[in-house]
């Protein structure tokens, strides 16, 4: 009898525990609504654009709860490869094309673009103002090596879309990223999102590569200024990729396509076009509005 009591009490406890987990997930997780989970980049989330798109979308489809998991492009695609989300919104064309070719996603839907900015301290110790992206990175490398206390560069270092572009730009200067750039004392990896990285760059008076959306949203909070803002190498295209339902049968395909259609509709593209004008005084994203991807 004594033994039984013990076993029963333990079992009860375990059962209560499991029921509590289950019940909570059920009420907190569903409540009759279907969810649309989107893995996306911090650059889209930090500007506040997604929140605005979500609000309008959820008014149109009140039974869909849109949920964003904001991380870097690399991580977002990893979530996508595991089928943990229904859709990804990212910005790194090569990785995206690979994602689709390998069968994880159905198709790329580019929806907006802007430019990466090379930003730095206002006194511009590496003299990059008015140059192009490759020359600017070359100058930072040369001046940084000569005087690592004055010239620094802060990298995301998190395999995000911005980080991948930055690595491409270093390699384009002829200095191999992995063997040369990464080991330099003037080269700092934050391992964090764009906002944090800009704050670190600002504190350390360092150069950095930022998407223009996040930078413009941060202007006024930091003292860095943009030096190089145009050119093909700095083109930054954002796309939507729904998960492949054949590979991941559990994904919410319908809600995913509704989201894609909404973003590409004139209403969605209008929100993208006008976003930031009243909040930051300028446009942050250029909608593609059905036009092909730009190449300069």
């Amino acid at each position: 009898m004594k033994k039984n009591w013990k076993i029963i009490s333990i079992l009860l406890v375990l059962i209560i525990g499991i029921i509590a987990i289950g019940a909570y997930t059920f009420t907190g997780g569903n409540s009759g609504k279907q969810t649309l989970k989107i893995a996306t980049t911090t650059s889209l989330e930090d500007t506040g654009l997604l929140e605005e798109l979500e609000t309008v979308f959820e008014k149109k489809y009140p039974n869909i709860d849109v949920q964003f998991i904001a991380t870097g492009t690399g991580q977002a695609l990893e979530y996508g490869k595991k089928g943990d989300v229904d859709l990804v919104m990212v910005h790194s064309k090569k990785q995206e094309e690979q994602f689709v070719t390998e069968g994880y996603g159905t198709q790329r839907y580019p929806f907006a673009y802007n430019y990466f900015y090379i930003v730095g301290p206002v006194n511009d110790p590496a003299k990059i103002n008015g140059t192009n992206a490759t020359t600017a990175f070359k100058n930072i490398h040369i001046k940084g090596s000569a005087n690592p206390n004055k010239v620094k560069f802060t990298s995301r270092g998190d395999n995000s879309g911005t980080n991948i572009r930055e690595i491409t730009l270093w390699n384009a200067t002829g200095a191999d990223y992995n063997t040369i750039i990464r080991n330099q004392t003037w080269y700092l990896e934050s391992g964090k999102g764009m906002g944090d990285t800009l704050t670190i760059a600002d504190q350390k008076s360092a150069y950095s590569l930022s998407d223009s959306g996040t930078f413009l949203a941060f202007e006024g909070k930091i003292k860095l200024v943009p030096f190089v803002t145009q050119g093909k190498e700095l083109l930054n295209i954002y796309s939507l990729i729904p998960e492949n339902p054949q590979k991941f049968p559990k994904v919410n395909k319908d809600a995913g396509m509704k989201w894609v259609d909404f973003i590409l509709s004139s209403e969605g593209q209008g929100i993208v076009e006008n976003y930031g004008k009243d909040k930051y005084g300028q446009q942050l994203f250029i909608p593609l509005s059905g036009k092909p991807e730009p190449n300069k």
């Binding site: 013990k6 987990i21 909570y24």
Partner: protein, 228 residues
């Protein structure tokens, strides 16, 4: 210096005006943390009692192991639970990743060692005569544990507070398992980290004050009970 002061003033404004975002984040945090603490207590205190009461080989090593796990890194728990509940993991079918349920699971695992360990230590703190007395009066094992736990109740309260404190203040599990989804899994700590990154210091400061306030209230409440 001005930034800190302005932030502080705006933070207090946010709290006094019961800003809906601040309130909903606080409520969500409390819901999630209370649930994980409750589950943690329901599992850990009986287990702690059993370990104290039973003599078996390897008991000392087990207690040592539990005490080592007090400092279980939150990101390690995050990684472990992520591997378990991700779509491709063994529990993938339950679709718990990026939900409050997943966060509760992670936080519960995180605080189990602390509550179990403090239960054991607390029971050892009770004079052994009480145990002998209960047994000699013919109490069952279960009744004896119950008596001892009553004696050790202050230590058990402390165990619960410590567990709660660890769960409410952690970021690793909340970020890796919850995904910091606005209005769904975004809690005080992950909001603070995000808003600081975005440069919205006043919201971070407001939530920081609330986080401290919650701990203070809980401690006051427990002190009140202890004095009774």
């Amino acid at each position: 210096m001005n930034e800190i002061l302005n932030g502080l003033i705006q933070a207090i404004e946010l709290i006094v005006k019961c800003d809906p975002e601040v309130m909903s984040i606080t409520l969500r945090t409390l819901e999630i943390t209370f649930t994980s603490t409750l589950i943690g207590v329901l599992i850990a205190i009986p287990i702690g009692g059993l370990i104290y009461f039973k003599n078996f080989t390897g008991k000392r090593s087990l207690v040592n192991l539990i005490q080592t796990l007090y400092s279980l890194p939150t990101v390690l728990v995050g990684l472990l639970v992520f591997l378990l509940i991700s779509n491709e993991g063994p529990l993938g079918n339950f679709q718990l990743l990026f939900t409050p349920g997943g966060m509760i699971q992670g936080q519960t695992i995180l605080i189990l060692p602390i509550i179990t360990g403090f239960t054991i230590t607390g029971l050892y703190g009770v004079k052994s005569e009480i145990k002998d007395l209960a047994l000699s009066l013919g109490a069952s094992d279960f009744q004896t544990i119950h008596t001892l736990m009553k004696e050790a109740k202050y230590a058990l309260y402390a165990a619960v507070i410590l567990g709660f404190g660890r769960a409410i203040s952690e970021v690793g599990v909340a970020l890796m398992i919850g995904g910091n989804i606005r209005g769904f899994t975004r809690v005080i700590t992950t909001t603070m980290s995000l808003e600081t990154a975005k440069g919205n210091l006043e919201l971070s400061i407001a939530l920081g004050i609330i986080l401290l306030g919650i701990s203070l209230l809980i401690n006051l409440a427990l002190n009140h009970f202890q004095e009774k």
